[in-house]
């Protein structure tokens, strides 16, 4: 069953809230660039404590932006979950679509042709 608009809104909001925080942006960027990683791996790559990273990963997992592979607590590997990002992308696509510019250019083009 397709989700209703409220679900879609909620998913987009979670993505934007996650991206509003620089630490979470850094964690998501590291997972996007380097693939699945543990909190310890990420602490080695980012100027953030392991505890802070673990806290943010827990929050990101709760909202479905990353998923945790089953495993021993300190060895849990997290990976990006792209589906919510795809929902947020379509919101950005609508905002990024510019028709005012091209329509203005169309008018100018016809006026120049005389």
């Amino acid at each position: 069953m397709p989700p209703d608009d409220a679900d879609t809104e909620a998913i987009a909001e979670q993505v934007f809230v996650a991206l509003a925080d620089p630490t979470r942006r850094a964690i998501l960027a590291a997972l996007a660039a380097g693939g699945p990683a543990t909190a310890t791996d990420l602490a080695g790559r980012l100027p953030i404590t392991r505890q802070a990273i673990a806290k943010h990963l827990g929050l990101l997992a709760e909202t479905g932006l990353v998923t945790a592979a089953p495993g021993e607590r300190r060895r849990v590997r997290y990976r990006l979950r792209s589906a919510p990002m795809q929902v947020a992308q379509q919101f950005l696509a609508a905002l990024a679509r510019d028709w005012d510019g091209p329509l203005g250019a169309l008018k100018d083009h016809l006026d120049r042709e005389g």
Binding site: G35, A69, A94, W99, A105, L106, K107, L110
Partner: protein
């Protein structure tokens, strides 16, 4: 609704519909005001393409050609990855307005959902690049 599916604009243009039609549906017109270069096979199902300086291109599929009132196409959603199957539908409607034209453009389909957005199966570790890379390894092993 804060999540727009369609974008609509209407502009009054001081030129007759035939002139506006030519600007919208010919390679010469599209390549001047919209893209830097364009090609178009003007029939339903035909392909059109625009390119801009800097290497950006847009591939369109012509959907409606009803001269001189309706021209429509679908195209890839701007800003989404190349392999994303989602497309929006763009429809231009031309109405005579005195000596000029009232041109309406509606682009719809922004709120369509990616097919896998809500599928739990997508979470599996077998999906995505891990799977693609596994298939590549298997292909190379078999060769």
């Amino acid at each position: 609704m804060a999540f727009p599916d369609r974008i609509e604009r209407t502009v009054e243009i001081a030129h007759p519909p035939a002139r506006v039609w030519a600007a919208l549906t010919t390679a010469e017109g599209l390549g001047t005001w919209f893209g830097n270069e364009a090609t178009i096979d003007l029939r339903p199902g035909g392909s059109a393409r625009m390119s801009w300086e800097g290497g950006f291109t847009a591939e369109m599929r012509v959907e409606r050609v009803e001269e001189p009132t309706v021209f429509a196409y679908t195209w890839h959603i701007f800003g989404l990855p190349e392999d994303d199957p989602r497309r929006t539908y763009v429809e231009f409607t031309l109405e005579p307005a005195g000596p000029g034209t009232r041109l309406t453009v509606v682009e719809s389909g922004f709120a369509q959902l990616p097919e896998d957005a809500f599928r739990k199966a997508y979470d599996g570790n077998t999906e995505g690049w891990a799977k693609e890379l596994g298939e590549l390894a298997a292909y190379l092993d078999a060769a």
